[in-house]
Amino acid sequence: MKVRITDTSLRDGSHAMSHRFTKEQVREVAGALDEAGVPVIEVTHGDGLAGSSIQYGFSQVSEMELIAEAASVCEQAKIAALLLPGVGTVPQLKEAVERGVGVVRIATHCTEADISQEHFEIAKEMDLETVGFLMMAHMRGPEVLVEQAKLMESYGADCVYIVDSAGAMLPKDARERIEAMKEGLDCQVGFHAHDNLGVGIGNSLAAFEAGVDQLDGSLRGLGAGAGNAKTELLAAVLDKMEVETGLDAFKLMDAAEYTIAPMMPFQPMPDRDSIMIGYAGVYSTFLLHAKRAAERYDVDVRDVLTELGEREAVAGQEDWVIDVAMDVAKEKEGAAS
């Protein structure tokens, strides 16, 4: 039994850091992960290549520089970059490869896989390892997901992930999706968890039991919403289960404790607003945007999140957070007058 772990502290964690990772921080984290045997380390703006924007938040240091810093300290780990077609483009992918990226993870909403064809094909021409990311996968059942994953596989994906972007899945949801993917696909299958409902590790284990080949984690869970499955915890639990990961659980515990914890602005956890995100099935990354907008327009963040869920907002629609907050404020004003 084995499973490959990708650590996304330096990509999903970018959300929790408000995209303010410094070169020093990236070197320290990547170095610690590499030494602990993590085979793939993802480094990009939280919303992927070219995510630096008003919509998602500007990067303090360009992701291209951060990729180069991470690559410079890694002896065995491959560096991965995330790319969302519609945000990032082929020229940025090419630059990322020049800076040291060896794996590209191409993400679309879970029903829109056909916007990724060009990116997979070009990635394959560049001899990259390719991973497909079907985001917000709680919104569709196994059949649709398998159909979409097959498209990515046909474009050249080496692995397709079920991505629980909203942290809205329960273990049975993860299990049935991964089982269907394993059944329907020839390529590898992965699972990316968020801990909004407190079952990030539980869902990852359910995915493992259903035959998943790859799992994502981040140190201390540093990621959007309540964060991800914790890499150090995955390492420890999988070790107890006698699953081969190649990870050094002790070193990862140290990396979580002494490297990443001191740089975190807060500990992502299933607090009130994060639980609400999982409960309403909303993109985890909306958390900080919704908190800021709720404060700015003096409304309850839960009303904003609920409305976003009702409007079926998908990954990347951070502009709707402000729009919805303004609508909620108008409604509140209307009710008061």
Binding site: I54, G86, T89, E112
Partner: protein, 307 residues
Amino acid sequence: MSEDNKVKVAIVGSGNIGTDLMYKILKEQGHMELAMVAGIEPESEGLKRARDEGIGTTHEGVQPVLDDPEIKIVFEATSAKAHKANAPKYKEAGKIAVDLTPAAQGPYVVPVANLTEHLNEENVNLMTCGAQATTPMAYAVSKVTPVRYAEMVSTVASASAGMGTRQNIDEFTFTTARGLEEIGGAREGKAIIILNPADPPLIMRNTVYVVPEEDEIDEDAITESVETVVAEVQKAVPGYQLKNGPTFDKRDTPWGEKTLVMMFLEVEGAGDFLPKYSGNLDIMTASATKVGEAFSRHLLGVEEVVA
């Protein structure tokens, strides 16, 4: 109005966009006479509908259009690739091309900003739906104060994003970003597109963020300019609406703390042929109709009547 006062035009491409454009041109009481709709499938819905309207059709592609010397203006509603191949042929045949694909062979035109600026060109390009929807907002701010940076985010219903958009999504971001610079007047532009599969399909939404160069800006003047431009766009696209904003906020940017102007738009289509939620396609065909009419007037020497 006598036939002498009209310019013969043709639509190349009988898909969704070509068909919607056909109905818009037929509705327009102006100076265009739709002489031909060209497709490649004789039994296609678009060509059937054209025949039902009594319009000449061909399923032999672009050649019959090129062979008809009476046709002066061609609307390209095929694909960027097809237009790149057709553009030199139109030029050789002495026809003006109004290009609805992102091929960008000619200068960009957005009616509210520069409708009459390129009437002596042989080929003009309408960029992308997102650019038609959002560059007017950057342009409205630019008229008041210089713009350092403009960013747009388009959310389009999955059902109204065709294979052309899906297979060339990078093209959308490049062309739209350039449109924010060239038409919107921003020193730097950025574009993001998101497809949303919600059912019932959502009406096209666009958010425009503008960062002015100056720290001191006249918020009232910007608001007035934005509202004027919105009203102007609404003449051609009645479903073009500012849902929220312009709203002003302070933000940390790569250029220091700046005032950010935000505008939230909804674009509902007229439902001429395409469903109303396809505001993204509607704004293209509405703009193309305006541009075709402007060229026709120009060719006929008819002055624009200022209402």
